[in-house]
Symmetry: C2
Subunit: 193 residues, 2 copies
DNA sequence: CGCAGAAGCATAACGCTGTTATTGGCCATA
DNA sequence: TATGGCCAATAACAGCGTTATGCTTCTGCG
């Protein structure tokens, strides 16, 4: 219901009438509406993780990093409402992220951080690159692109896809990669869709 | 009320009792609660604009660009709830951005876009830099940092400030600036606070 | 096999939300 | 002064999350 009809449609009464039960069903099984929302985003994190794991590996670590970012954007576009709740926007039915939720969310950074390290090990990125810091910068960019796209703020002459490509290429270049090599790797990871 | 007590506290009844009136006041003066929220974010855009205009100019265009991003982050931290509604997160009382709102929001990109052009004109950025595309990439990064910080997602060993500094330096480097020059300009724009 | 216990759900209600029709009062103008 | 129109207070409606009550049903033990 959250994915198909938006946050406003996710009410206890609509839920229970949809499954043919009474409002008590929510409270016996979940305790409260915020707790129910928490289960929804837990499911969202699992789906996110499954998508990331399903991505095929590549011999090109920069392309693999770009591929992870592509998966990120695809998930955010596929279920924008779920994504928004998962990462702290749109307080839904009084739900607020707790520390454990955030830790689950931070797990998504592990794969790209390792990819960044492989980029450095392969000589594409500088050897002294701070993978922990870089992955946070990339995280912020990906989140910004996802949320601004959802809000309709990526407008004018450039599409969200162009912004994504530019961001990924510039990220690799700033990390030490060659401009042509970065462009080729990003293009290889993003164009087959 | 939105700024001080959060989105949940901004209800029609709380508003009117705070000013000593009845619920009708909202509807005679604004028409609906979403329309009232619209006026709130309009005010937010004006405050944002005033902050950007109040920033002193600099002879160093890269430092000026970094200063604009610093103002951006300061605004987002000063009034996070207002900021979140302005840029499309947290649907508040059924309010949704319309095209005109988004255009007001996109105006904030004008100053940094011009700063990027000055960077190119001064030889710091590549002469063929696409300022329109670059400013959107920067916009996404700034929005991501602001929102992830608000949600508590910038954790671990790095602070939001470090992520901001890294992002700005890497942005300048990818645009063509020298690494040392970029670091110096960003540091000059961000450290006096 | 039968009874006791517990677990789960439906009903109804409380206080809250945004919204509105009705009613009354105030103020400005002729 | 009288009259017109604007404005707001009151009360109500539908919907929200939540909960106390009571009934039903299912489980497990003697």
């Amino acid at each position: 219901m959250l994915a198909e009809q938006g946050p406003a449609a996710l009410s206890a009464r609509r839920l229970v009438t949809a499954v043919g039960a009474s409002t008590m069903a929510v409270y016996t099984h979940f305790g409260s509406m915020p707790a129910l929302v928490r289960e929804v985003i837990r499911e969202g994190f699992e789906r996110f993780h499954a998508r990331a794991l399903a991505m095929e590996r590549s011999a090109d670590p920069v392309a693999e990093l770009a591929g992870l970012c592509r998966v990120y954007q695809e998930f955010a576009r596929a279920e924008p409402e779920v994504y928004a709740v998962m990462f702290g926007d749109s307080v839904l039915a009084g739900f607020e992220l707790d520390e454990e939720d955030r830790k689950m969310g931070a797990v998504v950074l592990r794969a790209p951080r390792d990819a960044i390290r492989r980029c450095a090990a392969a000589g594409r990125f500088r050897a002294d690159a701070d993978a922990d810091l870089l992955v946070r910068q990339l995280f912020a960019s990906m989140h910004g692109i996802a949320q601004l796209t959802r809000a309709g703020y990526i407008m004018g002459d450039h599409t969200p896809h162009q912004v994504l490509v530019g961001t990924l290429v510039d990220f690799a270049v700033a990390a030490g990669d060659g401009a042509d090599a970065a462009r080729a790797s990003v293009a290889a990871a993003l164009t087959d869709a």
